[in-house]
């Protein structure tokens, strides 16, 4: 099948309940950059109780409030086998904040309740004493500086067999203690960064699209996209107060 007849399917997890920090920006960036790279892409929203789409080339999930996390947790367990299978097949995914936490083993709330995760990331999250809020910059070998904004009370600790997405240059990151931020396992990225993440970090957006295209079509021929505004927005964001 040609690429035109077989568009990339972008699945957005729980937009009804987990969409608070500009998560739409990540979805829009994938849809638009795929198009600018000459690929057709379509969006499928997955909400609680829906049938999980048969095709999923990129899966994106966002941040939510504690109440949103409680609402989606049972449904997430239900689709977990499907998500694990996709992970095993190297499907690219991006999970921000709340869903990053639930892609780990568990989230332990300040009241001591355990919200079970789906254990794709070998990581656990504990409610912290204070919210970690502010501009953040981390660094990754392939993606360069990763720039965003964090706002979370959970402190995440990744196991030693996991790789962090970035090393902290400025900000708190996973837990404010071990200089790590986020997690990357196979093609699955988990992170606390929003702002939104992908528009200001086009290298990560293109990584997700490239992995999806190569998997689906066996090749990826990128176009040069004018990223001047992203470059200037990054330059300014780095200099802003926390």
């Amino acid at each position: 099948m040609t690429q035109q007849q077989n568009p990339l399917t972008i699945v957005q997890l729980y937009p009804d309940d987990m969409n608070i920090y500009g998560d739409w920006g990540n979805v829009l960036t994938i849809l638009q950059r795929a198009k600018w790279h000459g690929l057709e892409a379509r969006l499928v929203n997955y909400n609680i109780g829906d049938t999980f789409p048969a095709e999923a080339d990129i899966v994106i999930g966002g941040g939510g409030q504690d109440s949103g996390q409680l609402k989606v947790q049972a449904d997430l367990q239900k689709i977990a086998p499907r998500l694990r299978e996709l992970v095993k097949n190297d499907t690219p995914m991006l999970m921000i904040c709340g869903l990053y936490q639930l892609f780990g083993r568990f989230f332990k709330t300040s009241k001591g309740e355990i919200i079970e995760g789906i254990n794709i990331f070998h990581a656990e999250t504990h409610a912290g004493p204070a919210r970690l809020i502010g501009n953040i910059v981390t660094s990754h070998d392939q993606f360069g500086d990763i720039i965003g904004y964090e706002n979370h009370s959970g402190q995440t600790f990744i196991d030693s067999d996991m790789q962090p997405l970035g090393r902290i240059i400025r900000g708190a990151g996973n837990n404010g203690q071990d200089d790590t931020e986020g997690c990357i396992y196979r093609n699955v990225i988990g992170t606390y960064l929003h702002g939104s993440l992908l528009p200001k970090n086009p290298a990560i957006a293109d990584f997700l699209i490239e992995q999806a295209a190569k998997k689906k079509f066996g090749e990826f021929a990128p176009t040069v996209i004018e990223d001047r505004f992203a470059a200037q927005a990054r330059e300014i964001a780095i200099k802003r107060p926390r």
């Binding site: 500009g22 919210r131 904004y149 009370s153 929003h194 528009p199 802003r240």
Partner: protein
């Protein structure tokens, strides 16, 4: 009982602070230290008690409107006009208005309070009335979560002794009603079903679930065209020409009407109420227009996704030169994520002429992803404003701006030649 010497001392401190060019809240701080019950004593002496207005969007405009509407019903109203919307600011405003004996010449106090400060305030001074406008995705970098803000507003409602006025279009505000005891009266204001579909809330925006049927409202904003609005109350549809523009400002009028009607009770005089409503002018920076070389320049304050969305829906870009100015100072919010929750499709046809502010490039990037043409970007507001002025001499201009960008732009516009204020 207010001690007269405290009042005198406070007024002297206020006077000295002003001479030295100090902030509006400082005298309040001093008096709080000397006599912690000062504010409570003064306010509890008012025959019609205290009204607290809170919520994310529209506090300033709604407070201003309520004050003017209550005045039309014959009330002498005290309010915290200085914009210090926290307890210390209230004390400072009292010091400005009381006489040297410590008496406030007013029937009622109408106070705009920031959510977090209101919580502490109502514990000391329970309001007789409160008006809760909305809980929007704003200031998450200060309060953490929308649900946290909703809890603060519920706290204000629970401290209220007589009537709570609630926005029936905001599910988090409606939910507060169910938790209140029967001793507290609840009045709602709302939108007609046609308007509700036109102006979706944060929750409706990307959600596919349908909202439940809203409760009955005392005042409904039925429709509006330009600045002429039709309200429904007293079982009638009433058309009013307004000096306010934009759905959000006009919807605030429905809130102020509901609140005023319940407070006025037997004093209620519809004729003077409608007259006053037609004369209310926009609050500082909220939909103001200035004339620049014979062309209007409209300043539209935008501070969160719902506000920006409503503003874009309210004004047609046709024929206008459009500028957007985004700052990220503390008062604006540091997190730029919110720009991604606003759709800019409506600007695609006309394009955007100038983008500015500290985060101009974040805004430019946002427009790039909505494929909106953009002519000029510069982080410096003065350069940007001058570009807008010189490249579009014969066009009306509209500037969407965050709070601190608005302050700077007003100052710059004030310095430019031939500026006259029309509203």
């Amino acid at each position: 009982m207010v001690k007269p010497h405290i009042a005198t001392l406070g007024k002297v401190i206020r006077h000295v602070t002003r001479l030295r060019g100090g902030g509006s809240a400082f005298p309040g701080l001093v008096i709080e230290k000397i006599d912690p019950s000062f504010t409570r004593d003064v306010l509890s002496a008012l025959p019609y008690g205290v009204v607290v207005i809170s919520g994310t969007n529209g506090k300033t405009t709604t407070t201003k409107m309520t004050v003017e509407l209550l005045e039309s019903q014959g009330f002498k109203v005290f309010t915290n006009r200085t914009g210090s919307n926290f307890a210390r600011g209230v004390t400072a405003a009292i010091l400005a208005d009381i006489d040297y004996k410590g008496a406030l010449d007013a029937d009622i106090a109408v106070l705009e309070l920031d959510e977090a400060h209101a919580v502490k305030f109502v514990d000391i001074i329970p309001p007789r009335y409160s008006l809760l406008l909305n809980v929007m995705r704003d200031q998450l970098d200060r309060f953490g979560e929308i649900d946290t803000t909703a809890t603060m507003l519920a706290h204000i409602a629970h401290a209220t002794t007589r009537t709570v006025v609630l926005n029936r279009e905001d599910p988090r505000i409606v939910a507060i009603a169910d938790t209140l005891p029967d001793t507290v009266h609840v009045d709602f204001f709302g939108l007609s079903s046609e308007l509700r579909e036109q102006f979706p809330s944060d929750d409706d925006m990307r959600s596919t679930t349908k909202a439940v049927k809203p409760p009955e409202a005392d005042v409904i904003l039925k429709s509006f065209a330009g600045s002429r609005a039709v309200f429904r109350f007293d079982n009638r549809e009433i058309a009013v020409p307004l000096k306010l523009r934009g759905i959000y400002n006009i919807y605030n009028a429905a809130a102020a009407l509901t609140l005023t009607r319940t407070i006025a009770a037997e004093r209620y005089n519809k004729k003077s109420l409608l007259e006053a409503l037609g004369n209310v002018e926009p609050a500082f920076g909220r939909g103001e227009t200035v004339m620049l070389d014979g062309q209007p320049v409209e300043l539209v304050l935008v501070k969160n996704p719902s506000g920006f969305r409503l503003a874009l829906k309210s004004f047609s870009p046709k024929g206008y030169a459009t500028m957007i100015a985004i700052n990220d100072n503390y008062a604006d919010g540091r997190d730029m994520s919110w720009l991604w929750d606003v759709d800019f499709d409506s600007l695609r046809e006309a394009g955007v002429d100038v983008v500015s502010g500290i985060r101009a490039y974040d805004m430019a990037l946002r427009l790039q992803y909505d494929e909106v043409e953009l002519t000029f970007v510069d982080t410096d507001l003065e350069t940007a404003l001058s570009q807008l002025h010189t490249k579009h001499p014969d066009q009306p201009k509209r500037i969407y701006c965050t709070y601190t960008a608005m302050l700077k732009l007003r100052e710059l516009l004030g310095k430019m030649a031939n500026v006259e204020k029309v509203l």
